[in-house]
């Protein structure tokens, strides 16, 4: 049995972070959390995750900006990023994908859809 896949959840809202964290843990992943980009970067540097869930609208550096930075860094460019946004406009979605995001999900998302997406991205049924 291989080591569980690491998933980093970055969102400033704890009420949003926590249910996601619990569900992913229950599904056998190893979730970590961060409240903003700075915290997230420290987490990535100390232990690069296999997947990142990233909130778009955050205090400090917003999700899109940080996503672009990670994709520009050869060390982390390969980590798939799923952007989460309360704003569901097509324009935002296109921008996210053009920045290299693997997927753009509009809140509120269904946890089951999220599980399926994780499975796809991490190569597990």
């Amino acid at each position: 049995m291989t080591a569980p896949k690491r998933i980093l959840i970055v969102d400033d809202d704890a009420f949003i972070r926590r249910p996601l964290e619990f569900i992913l843990r229950e599904e056998g992943y190893q979730p970590a959390t961060a409240a903003d980009a700075d915290e997230g970067l420290r987490a990535v540097e100390s232990c690069p995750p296999d997947l990142i869930f990233l909130d778009v609208m955050m205090p400090g550096k917003d999700g899109l900006t940080w996503c672009a930075e990670l994709k520009g860094d050869p060390r982390y460019a390969g980590i798939p990023i799923v952007l989460l946004s309360a704003r569901g406009q097509e324009r935002d979605r296109e921008r996210a994908l053009s920045l290299g995001a693997a997927e753009f999900l509009t809140k509120p998302y269904s946890p089951h859809e999220l599980k399926r997406l994780v499975g796809e991205l991490l190569g597990r049924g």
């Binding site: 009420f15 926590r18 249910p19 809140k107």
Partner: protein
């Protein structure tokens, strides 16, 4: 005037013998009568005047036989030579086809000759005989007088070409026939030349001189028979003498009157035709102004018509101003404005301008003796009302010394004034129409502007609605995400009890957040719909208490309440909500631990009619304040300031919008001022008196 009768092939013509008294005119006619009518078939008629001078009024039908294919019947006249019979001379001369001027060769009579010659010219002018069309033959009579003036000298008296005069001794019969023959030839030549084309075609012109000679041959032969010494005159045929000279004179006089009347008629006719021409020109001008509607062009056309038609010195259009001064607007010919500079002339003008109808002064000198120097060369004035209501009239001046206004002139001016009045009315109507059109254009462009504004407002309302929906949906998405994920976890997984409690707590918080959102939306919906809540007097302290409670800001707010504030007209719950929104914002955006301050005090509110007394609720914080330029935007609906702690927008962005809208319903407003030393000061002020109805519907945008 010669008459060609083509049916009878007769030519009737008139030959007049003119000249100084006792120059031999009558003698000429007697000789001719004797020669051409030896049997005295036609009687020579003469009239003796009251004095012993002789006035001949001769009539001699004279058959020239067949000339030009026509039989020529001549009537021969002499005129009285005495200076004072001018009128009679003119009547006799009227219509002459040729004139024989019998000059006296007596050198002492040079002056009489010259005078008579001048008189002939004047009489021809007066009787409208064209010197170019009526030939004059001069006979130098009494050549047998000892010391007779030389022919050359006599020619110079009359400015004649050398050799053009015919010498004669009429009492001997010498030169009489020659004179007559030469005059007839000149006359016939002229008559042929000016005959109408259809008459000329019927003329057997040929050699006129030869025809005349042939015609005269018998008479010339008769004179030759008489022995070359000429025909003595008068022989057997005494003229008919009418002793009753009164009768004749009255006949002559009535002829004179008739003739003058005829001349008058002629003058009147030509004057009427001039007037008609003027009116036609004016009506042309009216037609022209009918398309251009130029007041000045119309006035100029009318004034020019007046001057040219009447031969006026000057004409002007003016109005009588308050104070009695005449102001001339346009003029033609001589400038009449200086008339007003003289006091008595100005007074005269004022009288004439105020007269209800046409007003004429025939002799300025008689009217305003002392002022005549101010109107040099002017004789008569007329003022014809054009627009009585405006005291607008035509002012016309006739030149001296003989200028005058005849009745027909005044009638003409009145007609013209009528035309002018109609024209001016047209101009005025046109100007009104044009002004109306301009006003309409203004109104249309005003309406267009307001429509454009309304459209822009609607567009901005649309944009606001779109932004609102985006904001609302965003505000709902986060709590919904929490509720869905947390409840999914609770349903599908065990977790431990503390995790389950955390999830439940998250669901509750998110639900409360949604509830608050819905509450805000409902309030906004109410605001936008408007309502008819009744204002009641309420103490400011009560408003403050309710607002602090609603905002949950009792502990964190420092209140400074001016004592003795009168109750304000308000809907208490609404006004408290507005104040609570301000307190809420202050607390939300103030990161300091300093309490938010609330000051309540009397104030003055600026109004168009002057300031009114009110009460101000000022909320002061130490937050970041509004950026310059954002002060008004902050009051727009759905505009949100970012949460200074999270950077996230908080609330639906309706707090300030709602607060201001409520304040305005109370006749007041909410304004932002940067607070001294950093922070914000939001001042909610409402009037104490609500004389002016509160603004019920908020005007947006603009």
């Amino acid at each position: 005037m010669a008459q060609w009768n083509r049916t009878d092939r007769m030519l009737y013509a008139k030959l007049v013998y003119y000249g100084p008294a006792l120059g031999g005119k009558t003698t000429n006619l007697r000789v001719l009568h004797h020669v051409t009518d030896p049997n005295d078939n036609e009687r020579l008629v003469s009239v003796n005047t009251a004095d012993d001078r002789t006035l001949f009024f001769d009539l001699l039908p004279f058959d020239l036989g067949s000339v030009l294919g026509y039989k020529v019947a001549l009537k021969l006249y002499t005129v009285p030579g005495q200076v004072r019979y001018d009128a009679t001379r003119r009547i006799v001369l009227a219509g002459a086809d040729a004139v024989v001027f019998v000059a006296d060769s007596d050198p002492t009579r040079e002056r009489d000759n010259r005078q008579s010659w001048d008189n002939l010219q004047k009489s021809m002018q007066a009787t409208r005989l064209d010197p170019a069309a009526v030939p004059i033959l001069v006979q130098f009579n009494k050549r047998d007088l000892p010391g007779a003036a030389s022919m050359a000298a006599m020619e110079s008296w009359f400015g004649l070409a050398s050799g053009s005069g015919v010498p004669a001794v009429a009492c001997e019969g010498a030169g009489v026939l020659e004179t007559f023959l030469a005059a007839s030839r000149l006359m016939l030549e002229r008559l042929v030349a000016i005959a109408e084309p259809q008459t000329r075609r019927s003329l057997d012109a040929g050699d006129l001189a030869a025809q005349l000679h042939a015609s005269f041959a018998p008479y010339l032969a008769r004179r030759a028979e008489a022995g070359g010494a000429g025909v003595k005159s008068p022989s057997g045929s005494a003229p008919i003498v009418l002793e009753s000279s009164d009768l004749l004179e009255s006949a002559v006089a009535s002829s004179v009157v008739l003739g003058e009347q005829l001349a008058d008629e002629h003058g009147r006719a030509s004057r009427l035709s001039r007037e008609a021409e003027s009116l036609r020109r004016l009506s042309d001008a009216l037609r022209t102004t009918g398309t251009s509607f130029e007041r000045t062009a119309l006035l100029d056309a009318a004034l020019t018509a007046v001057v040219t038609t009447l031969g006026a010195a000057g004409a002007a259009f003016g109005t009588l101003e308050a104070g009695g001064r005449v102001r001339l607007e346009r003029s033609a010919g001589r400038d009449l404005a200086p008339l007003g500079d003289d006091a008595s002339l100005a007074a005269l003008l004022e009288r004439m301008f105020t007269a209800p109808g046409p007003s004429v002064v025939d002799d300025l000198k008689l009217e305003v003796q002392e002022a005549v120097g101010a109107a040099p060369g002017l004789r008569a004035l007329a003022v014809i009302p054009v627009e009585p209501r405006e005291s607008a009239s035509l002012l016309v001046a006739m030149p001296g010394p003989d200028g005058a206004f005849a009745d027909v002139d005044v009638r003409f001016l009145a007609t013209l004034a009528g035309h002018l009045s109609v024209g001016l009315e047209k101009v005025r109507m046109y100007e009104e129409l044009r002004a109306h059109r301009d006003r309409l254009e203004e109104v249309v462009s005003d309406r267009t502007r307001s429509l454009r504004r309304a459209y822009d407002e609607l567009k901005s309302v649309d944009a606001m609605k779109a932004r609102f929906l985006a904001n609302v949906s965003h505000e709902m998405r986060s709590p919904l995400t929490v509720i869905i994920s947390a409840s999914t976890f609770l349903r599908d997984y065990e977790g431990d009890p503390s995790e389950r409690a955390e999830m439940a707590s998250g669901i509750l918080t998110a639900s409360q957040s949604l509830d608050g959102l819905i509450d805000g939306l409902l309030r906004v919906a109410r605001l936008d719909a408007g309502d008819d809540a009744v204002l009641e007097g309420v103490a400011p302290a009560d408003i403050v208490a309710e607002a602090l409670t609603a905002a949950g800001a009792l502990e964190t707010t420092h209140v400074v309440l001016d004592p003795g504030l009168a109750p304000v007209p308000a809907v208490p719950a609404r006004l408290a909500r507005a104040l609570a929104n301000l307190l809420d914002n202050a607390r939300k955006f103030d990161p300091s631990t300093e309490p938010v301050e609330l000051h309540v005090a009397p104030c003055l509110l600026g109004r168009p009619g002057g300031a009114v007394v009110g009460v101000v609720f000022a909320v002061l914080d130490r937050g970041p304040g509004l950026a310059e330029g954002d002060e008004e935007r902050a009051f727009a609906p759905f505009e949100q300031g970012g949460d200074p702690l999270t950077g996230k927008p908080s609330g639906v962005g309706l707090g300030l919008y709602e607060a201001r809208a409520i304040a305005r319903r109370h006749g007041g407003t909410v304004l932002y001022h940067p607070r001294l030393g950093g922070g914000s000061e939001f001042r909610l002020s409402i009037p104490v008196e609500t004389a002016a109805a509160p603004i019920v519907k908020e005007a947006r945008g603009a």
